[in-house]
């Protein structure tokens, strides 16, 4: 691990003498890349398998060929390592470890000249950002497609075309992909592209670690999907994977246990990278109180990730050990404690819902301020409320366990802290709408999504308040009311902000403009069908429809049919989005450097940005949102040399 400063000092001029590393044919299989990954993955799998079989044979544990363990160690630990080694994620470090002089960074792993460069280990944060976004939208489509399947099943009571196991599998994998392979990494992708630019930094602090974090992600995704071919079917204990069901269930559950480890490792490394970047690589003059709110949001999110994620890793390890090593962490017969799982799981997964929301808050702050042409109302309080959510977020996990049978005395304190989260969140909502007040509102597509977010998230947050009130939760827990809440905060919240962010930075990322008319069509189609799909679920839940069921009382048939139809329209709206993105990326009109006339730094360079972002590090001279202040600037691009900044 070396810092960016070190990485980029190399003797090779760029880009004049840039040689793409697609060399002679043998390099295809022995040079870093997908070709080498193709044979290294099975090789490592076999190594893992021999290790398992050998050890079991040596210790005399029958049977020597235990496929559960072989798949777990060979397939889910060794093979991914083989894949990463093959693709070249470790090349630099292997050189370093072996004590050979490390190759000077020649920037061959930097920037992209053709689409092929997106399939290599690339250390450029802009390339990585796009790699993230394309990957995550792929998994969004897959997860959404699963939703279409089980929604079709739910159109009528009773079983239609699925069976109980595949229904549970589809629901669980749907949620798992959406959370671990879409929302969390999509935010990481946007931040990867934008944050270093906003900070006035040439790249992230640890570019190679950044590349590695990205490549861990498809591994996790493939693992989740692969569970469908496991004997007994995909993991079907919900995305929450409660023990002991996940311990006794079919072997597909270990795909969840281990997939989460890869996704989690990816997100911890990225978060660490963001934190170090934000702390040590801000441009001169960029004090904490001059950072754009997107940077603040990613700063707090990253803290959440670094602190909380190890807990889900732990929880999944325990379940995994309970199955594979026959331990009894959560099995009462051996002296284990069942509720322990839920405490540990939610100690991550509640903060995780803010991991899935705070970056969105950041995006919306950028969009609203730019599009309303006004400074963010109450900038400091906006930043502080993020920290408030961060702190409170760690003290509310047991609100998912109000009816789980946990200690009764925990209920009221957890309820109070849960409800109090409405305060910092409310500050944000009110500040956004105050920013709109008397602004000059440009109703572009990103702005539409941002405003859609503000209203829809308020609904989702308010249903959260119902759930936070223990008596209501006792009735509503584990019903479709929860499903409604989930989708209002995650779709109306996170996904809307992701759409807003994609549209907003699309010109910056691709150098082209998206089609505004299609964008608006996408918004309205989504907005209407989203509400038609998920609002009636509140009603279903309160009336008595429990969640995670393929069958329900006939009385709910009509409404469920309506919801299914609406959800198909929602699916179709995504097609409009993809069409717009693909067509505009291929042949949209060329975008200017700063089409939104925004003040933040990423817009002060060309679209797409130059390979090293800035020719010289800019000098920050004011706040990021000084719209309407005569002569105000956030930064000057040719730094004033005489200004001596004391590092903070």
């Amino acid at each position: 691990m070396t810092t960016a400063q070190h990485d980029h000092v190399g003797p090779q001029p760029y880009p004049e003498h840039y040689e793409p590393p697609h060399g002679p044919r043998w390099r295809l299989f022995f040079g870093p890349g997908l070709g080498r990954a193709l044979w290294m993955t099975p090789l490592f799998f076999s190594l893992g398998m021999f290790l398992v079989v050998g050890l079991r044979w040596w210790w005399g544990w029958p049977p020597a060929f235990d496929w559960t363990v072989i798949v777990a160690i060979g397939g889910m630990v060794a093979a991914p390592v083989g894949f990463l080694t093959g693709i070249g994620a470790f090349d630099y470090w292997l050189h370093y470890i072996s004590g050979r002089p490390t190759r000077p960074e020649d920037h061959s792993g930097h920037g992209a000249t053709s689409w092929k460069d997106y399939f290599r280990v690339n250390t450029d944060h802009k390339v990585i950002g796009i790699q993230y976004l394309v990957t995550t939208f792929f998994f969004f489509t897959v997860g959404g497609f699963m939703a279409m399947l089980f929604r079709a099943e739910l159109a009528r009571p009773g079983l239609q075309f699925l069976d109980s196991q595949s229904f549970n599998g589809l629901v669980s994998v749907h949620a798992t992909l959406m959370i671990f392979l879409f929302i969390i990494p999509a935010f990481a992708g946007i931040a990867n592209f934008v944050v270093p630019l906003m900070l006035g930094a040439p790249d992230m602090a640890f570019p190679r670690l950044n590349a590695l974090s990205y490549w861990l992600l498809p591994i996790a995704g493939v693992m989740f999907l692969a569970s469908f071919v496991a004997p007994g079917g995909a993991f079907g204990a919900g995305w929450t994977g409660y023990a002991p069901l996940s311990v006794d269930g079919p072997v597909g559950n270990i795909f969840f246990n281990m997939g989460v480890q890869w996704a989690g490792a990816s997100s911890v490394m990225t978060a660490l990278n963001f934190l170090v970047t934000i702390i040590t690589m801000r441009a001169p003059g960029m004090t904490f109180w001059r950072m754009p709110l997107l940077v603040w949001a990613n700063f707090t999110t990253s803290l959440l990730v670094v602190i909380a994620t190890p807990f889900i890793a732990g929880s999944q390890f325990f379940v995994f050990f309970d199955r594979v090593l026959h331990t009894s962490f959560f099995t009462p017969d051996g002296g284990g404690y069942v509720l322990g799982y839920q405490h540990i799981f939610w100690f991550y997964s509640h903060p995780a819902v803010y991991i899935m929301m705070l970056p969105g808050f950041g995006i919306v702050s950028e969009v609203i301020s730019t599009m309303a042409r006004k400074p963010i109302f109450g900038y400091r309080l906006m930043a502080l409320s993020l920290i408030g959510i961060l702190v409170l977020g760690f003290s509310v996990w047991a609100h998912h366990m109000f009816v789980a049978g946990m200690a009764n005395w925990l209920r009221v304190p957890m309820m109070i802290t849960t409800l109090l989260i409405a305060v910092p969140t409310g500050i944000k909502i009110f500040s956004w709408i105050a920013t709109l007040w008397r602004g000059r509102i440009h109703l572009t597509t990103p702005m539409l999504f941002a405003l859609g977010f503000v209203t829809m998230f308020t609904i989702g947050g308010l249903s959260g308040i119902y759930l936070g009130a223990v008596p209501i939760d006792i009735h509503a827990s584990d019903t479709y009311f929860i499903v409604a809440h989930i989708h209002y905060v995650l779709f109306g919240g996170s996904v809307f902000t992701i759409f807003a962010g994609i549209y907003y930075w699309f010109p910056k990322m691709t150098g082209r403009m998206y089609d505004e008319r299609l964008g608006k069509a996408h918004f309205w189609l989504t907005f209407v069908s989203f509400n038609a799909t998920f609002f009636p679920m509140h009603y279903l839940g309160l009336r008595g429809m429990n969640r995670r069921v393929f069958d329900y009382p006939a009385a709910f048939g009509g409404l469920n049919f309506f919801i299914t139809i609406a959800s198909f329209v929602l699916g179709a709206s995504v097609v409009v989005f993809f069409y717009n993105m693909i067509m505009s990326w291929a042949r949209g009109p060329i975008a200017e450097g700063n089409p939104w006339r925004s003040h933040t730094l990423e817009w002060q360079v060309s679209s797409p940005p130059p390979i090293f972002n800035f020719d010289e590090i800019p000098q920050v001279v004011g706040g990021p949102y000084e719209y309407g202040v005569p002569g105000a600037r956030h930064a000057v691009l040719a730094p004033a040399r005489e200004v001596e900044e004391v590092p903070v």
């Binding site: 003797p11 040439p202 690589m281 001169p284 190890p310 331990t327 009894s328 002296g335 540990i344």
Partner: protein, 203 residues
């Protein structure tokens, strides 16, 4: 880096990033990583708490009879690991002062002690008289000591790296980050062991 200094003077690479904090990026990265690792241990301690304290039918004696933990062997092991932290520190100080033989001796000692710890731990596993399926106390025992063992293993890998590079003469009084970072990690592994030892064996 110095070897490319002339090239860097007129290179077309990126601008040098502004250093906006006094903290070194690599040290900060390592500290954050350790924070995350601490939380991972935290989740194992949490499950220990649940099994031993929160559980209504937790055993009254720890470990439940007829089992025993090898407190003495582990105590000796503790002493070894704590000592290795001191030799690590000595090695780092030596390279900072330019005393290469002392640095190499210190690193070798540290490495050997870490290895001795790990091997002792493994041998102990074979002789404790219970295995992972013997109940929740065993789950916790193997969980915490195993997790720690895995960290010792990672630490040893890092130390091995330092050794290889050390013998090739890669470190100098000006350039010893490659020693310092594994050192920080090693101290963390060491401190963690003291907590694990106290919680699992002594309490």
């Amino acid at each position: 880096m110095t070897s490319h200094a002339e090239a860097a003077a007129h290179h077309h690479g990126p601008p040098i990033a502004n250093q906006s904090s006094r903290v070194d990026a690599r040290v900060l990265g390592m500290l954050l990583f350790i924070a995350s690792e601490t939380m991972l241990f935290g989740s194992f301690f949490t499950v220990y708490f649940f099994v031993r304290v929160a559980n209504p039918d937790a055993p009254s004696t720890w470990p439940p009879p007829p089992y025993h933990f090898p407190v003495f062997v582990a105590g000796v092991n503790t002493a070894i690991l704590v000592t290795s932290s001191f030799t690590m520190h000595w090695a780092l100080q030596s390279i900072k002062r330019g005393n290469r033989p002392a640095f190499l001796a210190g690193m070798t000692l540290t490495f050997l002690m870490g290895l001795a710890f790990l091997l002792t731990q493994l041998v102990e596993y074979l002789h404790v008289g219970f295995n992972t399926s013997s109940g929740a106390f065993a789950s916790v025992f193997f969980g915490l000591t195993g997790l720690h063992g895995a960290h010792v293993f990672v630490g040893l890998t890092l130390l091995g790296m330092v050794l290889v590079r050390g013998f090739r003469g890669h470190f100098s009084p000006q350039h010893h980050h490659g020693v310092e970072l594994p050192g920080i990690y090693w101290h963390f592994v060491d401190v963690m062991w003291i907590v694990v030892y106290s919680a699992v064996y002594l309490l």
